[in-house]
Point group: D2
Chain length 263, copies 4
């Protein structure tokens, strides 16, 4: 039986995902801010602990991707390559090392959702939109003063939106999402008595990375909407740290187990 994940068949042709490595081209629009650190701590299951420095820092990141496996064939049937996502990242500590961790994430395609199960991203479907830079007409260039909007909705409710103005080049694309990711891969037990059949703490990071200079941006507007089905707005904005925009290329090729699933 072939096929990296579901479905598996004799040929693997219909599998929703090719095996890693997975390659990505995309634009990131990032807002970093500080919330109450106890709210972040409440989202970190043992053995993770809060980061030593700035433990209330949060990044909300919008991304507009084209992705593919090694054959790159998805790029030419682009409904299978293009997707957008928005995700909230915090930092945490494990065995003395600082990690990034995605606590909420919305994507708009099934292949992205299934990759999330593999990588430990807590994915839901959402509707994500970002202004795209363009060299002609009314859309913004990548240049000082250019204005970009980003919006997020799920289940027919607006969850977050933001407007930023590019200021100039920056050294870094923020700091909250800059560490290897520490994620839990959970699979609840089938017998409904509760508990997980699989619960593994893993680390993963980019296998390859290239990108343009990050842009620092002024955050003109940033709203988190309180809706019954989400908890992102519970991470209230106490203080804006900054806005960023960056174009990147990245390859993901698996990770490693930090804490294996208990038996």
């Amino acid at each position: 039986m072939k096929g990296f994940f579901y479905p598996r068949s004799a040929t693997g042709r219909s599998s929703l995902l090719p095996p890693p490595p997975w390659h990505y081209s995309g634009d990131l629009l990032t807002i970093e801010y500080r919330t109450d650190p106890t709210k972040v701590a409440a989202l970190l299951p043992a053995p993770l602990t809060p980061a030593d420095e700035d433990p209330g820092a949060v990044a909300l990141i919008w991304a507009d991707w084209q992705s593919c496996g090694d054959s790159k064939e998805e790029l030419l049937d682009p409904i299978r390559a293009q997707y957008k996502e928005a995700f909230a990242v915090v930092r945490c500590k494990f065995e003395g090392r600082t990690y990034s961790r995605c606590i909420y994430i919305w994507v708009d395609k099934d292949f992205a959702m299934l990759r999330g199960i593999h990588q430990g991203y807590p994915k839901k479907l959402g509707s994500i939109h970002m202004t795209r830079p363009h060299p002609y007409g009314p859309a913004p260039r990548l240049a000082p003063g250019a204005v970009f909007g980003a919006t997020l909705a799920a289940a027919d409710r607006r969850i977050a939106d933001a407007v930023i103005t590019l200021r100039g080049e920056a050294e870094k694309n923020g700091f909250v999402n800059g560490h290897p990711m520490a994620h839990h891969r959970w699979l609840p037990a089938i017998d409904s008595k509760g508990g997980d059949a699989h619960s593994e703490l893993i680390e993963s990071t980019a296998a390859k990375f290239e990108g343009g200079k990050p842009w620092a941006a002024d955050v003109e507007s940033f709203k988190l909407y309180d809706v019954p089905t989400e908890e992102l707005a519970g991470l209230e904005v106490k203080e804006i740290i900054g806005g960023y925009y960056r174009q990147i290329g990245v390859t993901w090729n698996g990770g490693r187990t930090l804490v294996p699933s208990p038996r």
Copy 2:
């Protein structure tokens, strides 16, 4: 940390899924047919073996659902309750007992996709449509001679469609999907050397069931389209067994492990 599956939080409020039991109201339109038994056998990983009788029987089932957890709150925010699916089922044998097994399935909502990961259904997103019975106007009643259509697409390609005419009441709603389900719950290893971190064979079946009398139907038209991203059409139609329509209510409340994940 609360939340049945992803995401987990202090309250569990934003979790995409409530814990089972999950309750469903819906209509099923079923086409049963025979294909080459070796094609079915090729989709059965060890330790499953082909069914003793009619090992080439396949059911393609369209379903139009409203589903919810015990609180039933999703029913009143129906974007979170309503979904449609189409799925192909075959039979197999394990330790002398006959099981049903879903080999391909498409759904149109994220909560259904994540439930599939838990239950071992190989779910992709698709676009699924079924004629709905209605007591007034041009739509069909549930009565002899009523005509229903069903269509399935994914990644912007039509995969299957069917038209059936209700004939009269039947004793059973087909036989291929009538056994407990035997599914694999797979989670690929994170290190990309291949293999699975979790690979469990489970059994599950309805915890509660009610329904109207099944309708037997003539299959007026039934097409499987050969598309590059799917393998359903590889299960060629050698002979139509029959068509069925049924309205049901069902509760799913977990299952049990048949073969635990190897260590």
Copy 3:
């Protein structure tokens, strides 16, 4: 060149719409309420004037339809037949007669949007959901005490939602949407100097109608959300009149000109 509306071709086969009559099967969930009558009057262009009685009455109606032309072929390729809509209706007066008039409407399919251009409905695309009655499982029956939810969103923002509980049979399905419709069919002038190339006041009503007994319902919850792209919430709820649910079949077969387009 054949084809009722766009596109037209030698055969008309690819036309988005067959010619009328158009036939519909569907369920209507209606909330009637009173707002400030001056807000309603501000939405009535000359020569329409406010209704004599209860001029601040508004109906917000959710509808879950299957529709088709005389061939009924759309019903068997149901992506071309099924759509949902939500629309706000007020009453007005023309030449001494009372009319209903749709002031805002959202639909989820292109064929419904193009029909709106023909009929003078001010249609946008939206995301509309309604609980559906079902005879089995957790979904409600059409019976006293049954609870139904309805939601409306557009451009990724929730615009309205409601929950009603069926009480018992009613004589009427409300009164606001009970008159012939008086709509303007506008086509702006192509030269951008402003003004309309076509501006016709028309009347239309159902050519054929059948339906079950209406249900009267208690309105448990009814919210209009203030969003930047819509004005529905400007018609504030001063007083709830009532809730209704009804299953109907209806045929629309054109209307007549009340005031022709000026030259």
Copy 4:
């Protein structure tokens, strides 16, 4: 009453469209080919006649747009600015002058559909995808040898797809879509006796234009699929003329009447 088109209100705030001018930034992927000229002629209603030269030339154009009115506010709530379209263009003659004419078009947003009614484009909703150039990662740069795919579907059926490889800079972005557009603005009569209440032949062209150098491309693959709801495949490909890719900025600000609607 304010509002360029539907809906109109006291403020015009909820109108789906701002008044022109409308500004666009976008990428165009074009395939030009020859079909049987009688098939093109059959799509030209009087008083239009076939073009003198190359009367069987057809362009199928995919476009990925961001558009807005003069306020540009849609760009910052990008679900209201971004859309994709695919459209087939032929040439025709009126009073001795050559025009381009769109004969089939699919878009993926309501504002684009309503603009089409104003401009005489025969729009349906569709699902349109194009590979996007990107400076990093696996997606193609705008450079010789770069490969782009484009796909079109509607009503859950694939209608067309293409793959092109950029070769080098070209003088022109093809020739079929290079003239002012000659379109009919039709509004069928409301009384269903047939005929149009409004039938106007208009001309329109870009009010402002900027763009990069066009790219000439090899057409690696180009398929039109025969589906029951469309007639594009009836314009069979007899000979490929060429492929093109271009990034442009354009402003549309109305047109003028060539033949007014008869009375």
